[in-house]
Symmetry: C2
Subunit: 438 residues, 2 copies
């Protein structure tokens, strides 16, 4: 319920007004690089915090609390002048009037940057959308964590074999980094954490399935990394099912195209993402839920609207199908756009975006990961895991988040324990669709 | 929704079965002191964690995350034999049949210990109960935190003077330790944390009120400690209103018996607690929501039922009106009852409970606290604050909680910052009553 006394009034400024939609990697990087620059900045976000999405799966699997991977946006903009953060959802662009509307009013802009990121793609499977757990928001991760822990509490309370199996089975769909990492973390829970918590359960009954439509996991990495990741998963007893497409889920049984099915109360959907669009954009510029931009991240035919990060689709020589929807692209586009907007203001030439691929990595539970650098170097195992941790630690925003995460990781490493297995809010997927839960 | 395949089947044992209702301070201490002893133990709790209630107010005021002050119950009982934790609500005792019923079935007991603690007492004020924020559960603290942070986000979005004031005013009712500590922490937020977050708000508009029905705060402590606490609160600009009874709250205005009223969207109710009873107990043994027990914590006329902690009312020579409803009493009763139950089993004499008052303390924001030892020594200020932190740190259960809390406190001390000001779940008190929110 939005009280009727709220309104969106931003004081006028001598500077042109730049409205940024979304405080994810792209929007945050852009705004920070425009500190006290030539624009008045208004940042709109539904949440008052930035989410470090690559570690969401650790919140879901009891490894970290939200305060480790999310940081208050206002804190990031301490000391900024002519800067306004407003916690409100951007709804609709009107590029004629140069306004963006929200539930509490309409805002005029001189320049608009859409950095609204991506959301889970259920590929039109309505039944799956209603009952599967996505992993794009902090609240998704917390609900999934509660759900998993509740399932084990229920498993000790039933003598019904079929439902016991459904409670102990966990199905992850999607063999990309998120799917692999969450499946790995579940394997870690199964082997190192849950058995001492639940002496009255037999954890050989706990089965983790990773279902992937393609012929291998981590298809964006080399086949060596893919097969290493698969091997690590299988060492935890995870069943990796390849070339299998999920077609339906009734909350108890996962159905696949090949006729196979898996009994499970838990379906984790990491099979794909799509742009999280605002309304009002002409169909012309939207291509498969992403916004077509030129090499300056400028929206086609609209010189004062830009799109960066996951939502932007830039088809150029190094990316005929657009760039991957990952944090590095978002950060680099945000950083460059800050420079380009300054150039635009001073009427200098803008610079075309070139993606600098820093490599990719994925971890599979304790002491195992795969790492690839762009020019050939690929390795797996313990060293890759240390590097994975180091890179993620230094990438976290703010020293406090680094510190809290580091303490948690050291603790887990030494004790084989995960501290955060509290069911603070029970979650009932039969009552609320996980993707819609607030 | 409770699935119909759940049931409460505990394997039979050669040992007599002891059912403990509640894993708070009393139940936890009792069960841990009966490790692998003469009884089969079944512990029932609605939650899968123990809550360190004295620090709940820090969760509410963005100082700590739940994982710092709550610990998984199963972890506390690692390695226990013939011990069963079941996450389920105990509903009704049948002392004739010697059973306790739950939503998923009925459990036979040989001995029953009621340690269900206390809940917020709204003194029959239904309007207050519906809209005020209690502080007895982790979820209460999280909802209150979200609500407070949302209020400031709304305050930047309104030009309506009255509602702006309602958003910036916070009213705490009850001058006991909880009320004083939460009011102190709000003062700290006002002075050290929020102004840099919200440069577009004037924090001299933020008013914290502490309303107490009696003539002083901390009435269980000396008048010197009371006046010190009041002085510290006033140094933060908190308005302490004494001799004032709250009579109603419509969600916007707090009404008092003396005709005064305060405009506020936030009423924090720390005015009192009452026993959280299970059903089925004869009226005879219930006195003002607590269960009458003898000096062995044995329920009157029912030798195989015991009550310990907040729920127990023991009127003996040192406590004509019962003991204070505090953690120390619960812990000491839990510990003694473990001994007495062993004595009962070996047919030796049980020992009468004598409360060993270790003193009391309360903190008021940064670097200020009051401390009293039972035999005269009383002091306030910085040293009291250090002692307060030390005592609370060592009292936290488990090394991990001590560590995470310590890191957070050192961080806050050095940076004047509170890390946890994320609005993960927006909370709307007009839609859900805070006391009932799950």
């Amino acid at each position: 319920m939005i009280p009727d006394y709220l309104s969106l009034d931003i004081p006028d400024s001598d500077k042109p007004r730049l409205v940024i939609v979304g405080g994810g990697f792209a929007g945050l990087e852009l705004a920070r690089n425009l500190k006290n620059g030539p624009y008045q900045i208004v940042l709109l976000d539904r949440n008052n915090y930035h989410t470090f999405q690559p570690l969401l799966y650790q919140v879901a699997t009891s490894g970290l609390e939200p305060d480790s991977i999310a940081g208050p946006l206002r804190k990031a903009f301490e000391g900024f002048k002519d800067f306004y953060f407003r916690m409100v959802r951007a709804e609709k662009v009107d590029s004629q009037l140069q306004t963006i509307s929200t539930p509490i009013g309409t805002l005029r802009y001189d320049f608009l940057v859409l950095a609204s990121g991506s959301k889970t793609n259920f590929f039109g499977l309505e039944e799956v959308r209603r009952r599967a757990f996505p992993l794009k928001k902090v609240v998704h991760a917390l609900n999934l964590r509660s759900h998993i822990l509740q399932n084990f509490e229920k498993a000790v309370l039933t003598s019904d074999k079929l439902n016991h199996q459904r409670l102990m089975n966990l199905v992850v769909v999607g063999g990309g980094p998120t799917g692999v990492e969450v499946a790995g973390a579940l394997g870690e829970l199964k082997h190192h954490v849950l058995p001492s918590d639940f002496p009255d359960l037999d954890f050989s009954d706990m089965k983790v399935y990773l279902v992937e439509a393609g012929s291998r996991v981590l298809s964006a990495m080399s086949s060596k990394s893919g097969s290493n990741a698969k091997k690590y998963l299988e060492q935890y007893g995870t069943e990796v099912i390849l070339n299998a497409t999920v077609t339906g889920y009734n909350g108890e049984t996962v159905f696949m195209k090949n006729g196979q099915h898996i009994e499970s109360h838990t379906l984790i959907w990491a099979a794909g993402v799509m742009g999280d669009l605002v309304e009002g954009l002409p169909d012309l510029i939207v291509d498969k839920s992403r916004i077509l931009v030129n090499e300056y991240n400028q929206v086609i035919n609209t010189p004062n609207i830009f799109a960066i990060g996951d939502i932007a689709l830039m088809k150029n020589h190094d990316s005929p199908n657009g760039h991957p929807m990952v944090a590095q692209v978002a950060i680099q586009q945000g950083r460059l756009l800050a420079k380009n907007l300054k150039a635009l203001f001073s009427k200098s030439q803008m610079k075309a975006f070139e993606y600098n691929d820093l490599g990719s990595m994925a971890t599979v539970g304790r002491k195992k990961a795969v790492v690839e650098f762009p020019r050939g170097l690929k390795f797996g195992g313990f060293l890759a895991w240390l590097l994975w941790m180091f890179i993620h630690l230094i990438s976290l925003i703010g020293f406090r988040n680094k510190l809290v995460t580091f303490v948690n990781w050291v603790w887990s490493y030494i004790t084989y324990d995960k501290g955060n297995r509290l069911i603070i809010r029970t979650f009932d997927k039969e009552k609320t669709s996980p993707v819609e839960a607030g």
